[in-house]
Symmetry: C2
Subunit: 109 residues, 2 copies
DNA sequence: CTCGACTATATCACGACGTGACATAACGGT
DNA sequence: ACCGTTATGTCACGTCGTGATATAGTCGAG
């Protein structure tokens, strides 16, 4: 899939998809991603199995991640260059949202 | 609806819902929200009519927003105290996501 | 005065997504 | 032998944003 369509499809990204791709800066398998996300969100986010394996399959088809190794009972994925571009765009969007959140924060007290 | 269920239902929030509630720190009507969101996102986000009026109806039923005034062809909404609590929780979540985005940013270059 | 652009709201089908239940199976420790 | 954990997969379900379609009032330009 071309990068233009990927950006349109993946930005804005759901929180779930964001943390999955964030975990794949290092090669990881599905279950490892679940544990890693629980770790960096201090237990707040716990991904369901349907979410993980469904999302990984979809992302691989689209070419934002690729299979790093495929051993018995462990399919390890890593992010592709296209995936990195998508994440750069998503991080820029998050910065915008964060900026507006801070700017309007006092309105909610 | 009780605050506990509202937090569960609205956090995490979609980008669209976030910008709609953000716009309601001041009383605004549907069309005004669309224009305001386009403004503070520099034209990046343009909400569809289905999104706005569907979301506003849902949010009103849940009690996160309320009708401020209802003139001819202009229903003006504003955020409720419950809505403010929801937004405070959502802003905290955005700060966490932003923190992780910054922490892992170099992995995508 | 009429035409088009803009304001304003509403409804609906569609596709995409996360969730949790269910299923299966292998591993390690007690 | 048993159990908790690791590990993957599938499916129905509810939720959500989108864009098309419809309707109608306003307002300025020609």
């Amino acid at each position: 899939m071309e990068i233009q369509k990927l950006l349109k499809k993946y930005v804005p990204m759901t929180e779930t998809a964001f943390y999955i791709l964030l975990s794949l800066t290092e090669p990881r398998h599905g279950y490892g991603i679940i544990k890693h996300v629980e770790e960096i969100t201090a237990g707040r986010l716990s991904l369901g199995s349907g979410t993980i394996y469904g999302t990984l399959t979809k992302m691989q088809k689209d070419g934002v991640i690729t299979v790093f190794s495929d051993e018995h009972r462990k399919t390890v994925y890593e992010i592709t260059d296209a995936g990195k571009e998508v994440m750069q765009a998503e991080i820029m969007r998050i910065k915008e949202v964060h900026h507006n959140a801070i700017a309007f924060e006092e309105g909610f007290r």
